[in-house]
Amino acid sequence: MTGLHLLIPEYLLLAGAIAALFIERVSGREGAGAALGAVVALAAAIAAVVIGAQGAIAGGMLALDAVAVTVRVAIAALTAVYLLWLVGRGMGPERSREAVAFVLFAALGSMLMASARDLIVLFISLELATMPAYVLMGYRRNDERNLEGALKYFLLSMTTSLILLYGLSFLFGIAGSTSLVAIAAAPPAGLLGTFASVFVFIGLFAKMSAAPFHFWAPDAYAGAPAGSVAFVSTVPKLAGTAVMVNLATALVPHAPVLPAVLALAAVTSMLLGNLAAFPQTDIRRLMAYSGVAHTGYVLLALSSATPAGYAAAVFYTIAYVVPSMAITLIAAEEGTALDDLAGLVVRRPAVAWGSVVLLLSLVGVPPMAGMLGKLFAFTAAVSAGRLALVIVAVVMSVVSAGYYFRILRPIFFASRSDAPVLASSRSAAVAFSLLVAATLALGIAASPLLSYLGVRFF
């Protein structure tokens, strides 16, 4: 029994991606592709929930453990919400059906990444998740700035992929196998193991835009359509965290220095991300730096190198990407400069108050998801003896309030007379409401998810 039928969610996404390319031709309706994609992604999420945890499948190349299942469901669900938004808003001047296909491919790759237990599968699925992102980031093909950002993203992403691959090749050399299980079981390889592990993680840091390997993110995001950034900067990160959890579990025995490396990247990311986000005036750049900072908090949880810490990292990532996507979607609708948001509370009060929930969750104010995410990440880190890092983290979360309030300020306390009139879209409104509701629900009713993930300190 290879268990390949357990990959039904992935098959659904694959079929949906191909169908999305053609359905608009057949039905002749703009947005049909996105609608189909949303339905397929939702079906994939439901299927992933039904299938649940299954252990190793496909001869051990994939494994559906609690982390993989959680991330899988989150990726599919978030993709569905994103595509629902796309139904209403589209990709600006470009037609959206290719975007739908690429989004589904990227989601497919991300889902495979989360369950990959084999270096080859891991790398291939990583590329499957990243390649469509190059196109999405350069989706405005007639906009030179956009293409420049996309090219930058492409070149740097390729480089970091190669760094990752370089590290992976050493791991294969150490264990004589591409299986993570075999690598974990192999005798510690001393300095070589450390060397390989650090390379692997540097590659992952770059993918996750952790400092000091984050430098591509602000430029790439600022050059891309905000609608693309909303997807590319969020959903693949879920997979990235899952991969880091899987690799850390396998590699910490080989590289005892790894938790310290994670801690170092955590503190650099928290400091640099939060401080650099402060002066930004472009929401995409601001969110790029805030993404660096949030990756820092994820790494902080990972650096505890305990099961509870790993689970906390996954929870934190979910709690971070949901509001982050919603904020970037607002930028896609209203304009990407902070000043474009001026007077939003008058024009669209529901969106304005929804953004309060989202931004406060990103700061870590209860009762939203972000607060529990921080609580678990900090608790895991303190219990692993990283009190100093946690002090940095809490001070930096106050700093983060400073720049998130720079987004709130124009929304509530400024006015704008030349605001473009936005056609109302029910599907976009539903998508936004779902993201806000999820941000609240993950804070107030987190119990089921936490028990599934195994966030437990005693």
């Binding site: 209860p366 303190v382 946690v390 028990s451």
Partner: protein, 484 residues
Amino acid sequence: MLLSAIVFLPLVGAIASALLPKERASAARWIAAAVTAVDLALVVWLLIGFNVAGGMQFVENRTWVVQVGIEYHLGVDGISLSMLLLSALLSLVAVVASWKQDTKPGAYFAMLMLLEVGMNGVFLALDFILFYVFWELVLVPMYFLIGTWGGPRREYASIKFFLYTLFGSVFMLVGIIALYLQGGTFDITALAGMGFPATFQWWVFAAFFLGFAVKVPVFPLHTWLPDAHVEAPTAASVLLAGIMLKMGTYGFIRIALPILPHAARQWSGFIAALAAISIVYGAALAFAQTDLKKLVAYSSVSHMGFVMLGIASLTPEGINGAVAVMFSHGIVTGMLFLLVGMVYERTHTRVMDDVTGLSAQAPVAAGLLAFASFASLGLPGLSGFVGEFLSLLGAWKSGIPAAWVVVAAIGVLLAAAYTLRMVQRVVLGTPSKAVEGIPDLNVREIAALLPLVALTLVVGIYWDSLLRYVDPAVRATLALMGGS
């Protein structure tokens, strides 16, 4: 269920009032008045059913985030009851006082009610995470109240307020995590008296101190307060000074003392010193102010110093006094901010020299202002005296260096100086131009002030009306500290 109803009833009102369509938004004030009145009635009902000697009562304890042991745990004792009553009463008063709020009334009254959810919750929560949720929840509506309906420098004041208090509370979160990992629970009552190691206690106390002291505020962490108060709309000032400052001192009494008794003794000298400095420094700054609202704001720093002094004494007298000052300061400063706001509405100035001679034009306003001022400076027979006297008594009897107590006592004198100077100019004096022809207080305004006047007299004359609730809870807290 009663406590949950008291906490979450205003949330229902807030949602209802926020969802009102724009053209019907002025109905929000009626929703707010009804909700805060019913909430106050529920608190009074609680008060009637409260057993003075019964310790923690009306306890509700349900699991919430069961994986990490976060509970939905509420309960009320004499100390929290007095604060809860203050919170419910001042919320209603704040609603009545802002009856004429015509700028976005739906959102405004929603924010007032949301604020009440947080304030009520803080005084009832017995689980650390629940406590933290309510503690932070308070910041959001206050940020919008100052930022949207405040004075000219409202944006600066609101963000400063938010960041200062957030800075304090994130350290509190670190303290909570440390206690959780050491004690294995988020339950505040279960952690009390666990007897943690001395060094551990010292550091956790430091974390909590930052969180609470910013809120109180204790010198030198007080600089957000004058800005926030001056820019805040009247009702927000009333709730900020009346209740939110008390959250900090309440935290010391409910959390820091019983859970970290050893550290509390170690820190008491330092806290007493800061308290004495706050008293004198706040009073001196109040003396230098020409803006009435700033004067009241700085006097709050001074009065909250007495609360801290009483807490630092770690004696039954001192802590009873601390709670009494908290209660009295809540009602008296509420009155002062209301009156300053009412005068400002009429004269459009808060500069002391521009609003002299009030008694000739508006005798009721002038009389009430004089009354509130006397209560504020601690005239015996009015509520302000009780607490300050007991705080000083407790501090004198305790191990606090006598010098600090003497310094604090000088603060009483200074309070008389700046308050009487204000009364002399504003109430007496020759009527200034701005004051001429202004109408006296109307019935609604008097109705807002009257319950506060009554409580000032009742507590001032018959101390036991307050202390019979507070004292058993104070002794229970000290018993948890073991000895002293």
